[in-house]
C-alpha cells in the first residue's frame, strides 16, 4: 500500500537517477549471486511473484481507497533478494501505465524493497515464536510503516514539503498569537496575513480539501494510511495463514511449532 506511486515530475530527475543507480547496483549484486548459486531455478518464480503483485493490486476490497501490494508476501515466498527484483519489475511495468513515474522507478523500488526486506526478515524472526498469521501481520505492518516513513521523508526532502509544513505550522501559530494579543497587533501584520491569506483563499486548494467518508484534511489522510497498513497486514497475514494450512513449505514454516487454529 505504501506505493502511493510517486509520479514523474514530483521529484527532481537527479533523485530519480540516483535511485536507478542504487537499484542497478543492488540488482547487479543479486543477479551475480543468482548466477553462481542454484537460485537460478527461482527465476520463473520471481516472474510469477511479480505477476502476483500486479494482480493482487487489481483485487477490489469494497469501499476502501487502498489495495494490496503483497510486497512482503513476495519477499517471504521468493526471498528478500529475488523479491527485490520482482518489485523492480512490477514498478517498471506499472510505470508504462502511468501507475508511478518512469523516472521514479528506482526510488519506488527502494521504498517498497525496504518494506519487503524488513517485513520478510521480521517474519523469519517472529515466526519462531508467534503463529504465522500474527508474525506475518506484525512483520507486514512494520514493513509498511518503514516504507511509508521513507516515502514521506523522501518527498519532504526532495519537494521542500517540510518547508511547507513548517510554514503552515508557523502560520497557524502566528494566527493563534494574534487572537491572543488583540486587534491592534492584527492590523500591524495585516500585509503579511493578506499575502498568505490570498494564496490560500484565492486558490482554495489545501490538504484540507482531501476527504474520505466523514473526515477531511489530515484526519482523512491519516485514516487512509492506517487503513492501508491494516489492509496490507491483514491480507498478508491471512494469505500466510492459508499457506500454513495447505502448503506450509511455501513460507518455510513446515517446521514451525506454533500454528494457527
Amino acid at each position: 500500500m505504501s506505493h502511493i506511486h510517486i509520479s514523474d515530475g514530483v521529484i527532481s530527475a537527479f533523485w530519480g537517477l540516483g535511485g536507478y543507480l542504487i537499484v542497478g547496483l543492488i540488482i547487479f549484486l543479486i543477479l551475480r549471486k543468482v548466477e553462481k548459486t542454484d537460485l537460478k531455478k527461482k527465476i520463473p518464480m520471481t516472474g510469477v511473484v511479480a505477476a502476483l503483485m500486479i494482480v493482487g493490486m487489481s483485487v477490489p476490497l469494497g469501499p476502501l481507497p487502498v489495495h494490496l501490494s503483497l510486497a512482503v508476501l513476495s519477499a517471504i515466498i521468493a526471498g528478500p533478494a529475488l523479491g527485490f527484483i520482482a518489485i523492480f519489475v512490477v514498478n517498471f511495468l506499472l510505470a508504462f501505465f502511468g501507475h508511478g513515474g518512469m523516472t521514479i522507478v528506482g526510488l519506488n523500488t527502494i521504498i517498497i524493497g525496504a518494506e519487503a526486506f524488513v517485513g520478510s526478515m521480521l517474519f523469519r524472526l517472529l515466526s519462531k515464536k508467534l503463529t504465522p498469521f500474527k508474525s506475518a501481520s506484525i512483520a507486514t505492518a512494520i514493513g509498511v510503516i518503514v516504507s511509508m516513513t521513507m516515502m514521506i521523508g523522501l518527498i519532504g526532502i526532495t519537494t521542500g514539503g517540510y518547508e511547507v509544513f513548517l510554514h503552515k505550522f508557523l502560520d497557524h501559530h502566528h494566527e493563534v498569537e494574534h487572537s491572543n494579543e488583540g486587534v491592534h497587533q492584527k492590523h500591524e501584520d495585516g500585509h503579511l496575513q493578506q499575502q498568505h491569506g490570498g494564496e490560500y483563499n484565492e486558490e482554495g486548494h489545501d490538504v484540507k480539501d482531501v476527504k474520505f467518508l466523514f473526515f477531511s484534511g489530515w484526519t482523512a489522510i491519516v485514516i487512509i494510511l492506517l487503513l492501508g497498513i491494516f489492509t496490507e497486514s491483514m491480507g498478508t497475514g491471512l494469505i500466510v495463514k492459508f499457506f500454513n494450512k495447505i502448503r506450509p513449505d511455501i513460507t518455510g514454516e513446515s517446521n514451525t511449532a506454533v500454528t494457527d487454529k
Binding site: A13, P44, I77, H205
Partner: protein, 235 residues
C-alpha cells in the same frame, strides 16, 4: 488489470504508421519526450507536448477512452503532491499534475503502439539477461493470473463471499483466492523451470535481432522528439 490485456491487443493488432515503426525509434522518442516533460517547468510547454501526444494517439487509432482511464491513475496520485505544491503557488501544483499526466500519456503511447515483447527485446541490449527473463516470465504469468483471478472473484461473488461493506470477510476470502492462485503459480513456475531446463535454458530467452531496417519515418519520428526537447530547453 483487464487494461493490460486490452493494451496488449491494441499494440499487437494495431496497424497504423506508428505501430509499424521500429521499437527502438519509438523508445528513443519516448525517452526524449520524457526528458522534455521532466526538465520543463512551463505549463504551456507540457500542455503543448500533451496535445502532440494526444494527436499521435488519435492518429494511431488508439481508443481514447482506454487512454483516459489509464491517465486517471497518475492524475489521482499526483493530486496529493500537487496539493502540497499548491500551497506555494497554484501554478506549481498544476505543473505537477501536468507532468504526471504528460509522462503517463507518453508511456501509454509507447505501450499501445509497441508490443511488450519488442520492448523487452530492446531492453535486452543493455539489461542483464536474467532480468529480461524475469520481465518475460512476469508478462506470461500475468495473463494466466488475470483469467484466474477474474474467475475466482466471480465465483466468490456468486457464492456470496464478497460483500461491499464487509471488509474483513472480503479480505479473508480474497486472501484465500490469492492463496489458491499462489499455490498454482508456484507449481506452474517449477514446471516452467523444468521445461526450460530440458531445453537447455541457462538465462537469456530473448536475443536481440532486428528484422526491420531503420526507415525514413523512424528517423523522422526520432527527429520530432529531438526538436521537442530542443524547443523545451531553448524556449
Amino acid at each position: 488489470m483487464h487494461h493490460l490485456a486490452e493494451i496488449d491487443n491494441i499494440s499487437i493488432t494495431g496497424n497504423s504508421v506508428i505501430h509499424n515503426l521500429k521499437a527502438v525509434s519509438k523508445m528513443i522518442f519516448a525517452l526524449f519526450i520524457l526528458i522534455s516533460i521532466v526538465v520543463s517547468d512551463s505549463i504551456v510547454h507540457i500542455g503543448g507536448i500533451m496535445l502532440i501526444l494526444i494527436g499521435i494517439l488519435v492518429f494511431s487509432r488508439i481508443p481514447l477512452k482506454t487512454v483516459g482511464v489509464l491517465v486517471l491513475y497518475p492524475a489521482f496520485f499526483s493530486l496529493v503532491f500537487a496539493l502540497i505544491m499548491m500551497q506555494q503557488s497554484f501554478e506549481h501544483g498544476l505543473i505537477v499534475i501536468f507532468k504526471a499526466v504528460g509522462a503517463a500519456l507518453n508511456m501509454i503511447l509507447l505501450i499501445t503502439t509497441t508490443s511488450y515483447v519488442d520492448i523487452f527485446r530492446v531492453l535486452s541490449l543493455f539489461l542483464p539477461k536474467l532480468l529480461v527473463d524475469i520481465f518475460l516470465f512476469t508478462y506470461r504469468a500475468l495473463f494466466i493470473f488475470i483469467d484466474q483471478i477474474e474467475n475466482l472473484i466471480k465465483s466468490m461473488r456468486l457464492r456470496g463471499g464478497y460483500r461491499a461493506f464487509n471488509i474483513f470477510a472480503n479480505l479473508k476470502n480474497v486472501a484465500g483466492a490469492i492463496g489458491v492462485m499462489v499455490i498454482h503459480s508456484i507449481d506452474m513456475s517449477n514446471r516452467m523451470y523444468q521445461i526450460f531446463s530440458l531445453r537447455g535454458y541457462s538465462g537469456g530467452i530473448i536475443n536481440w535481432h532486428e528484422d526491420k531496417k531503420f526507415k525514413l519515418l523512424d528517423f523522422l519520428y526520432v527527429l520530432i522528439s529531438i526538436i521537442i526537447l530542443a524547443g523545451v530547453i531553448v524556449f
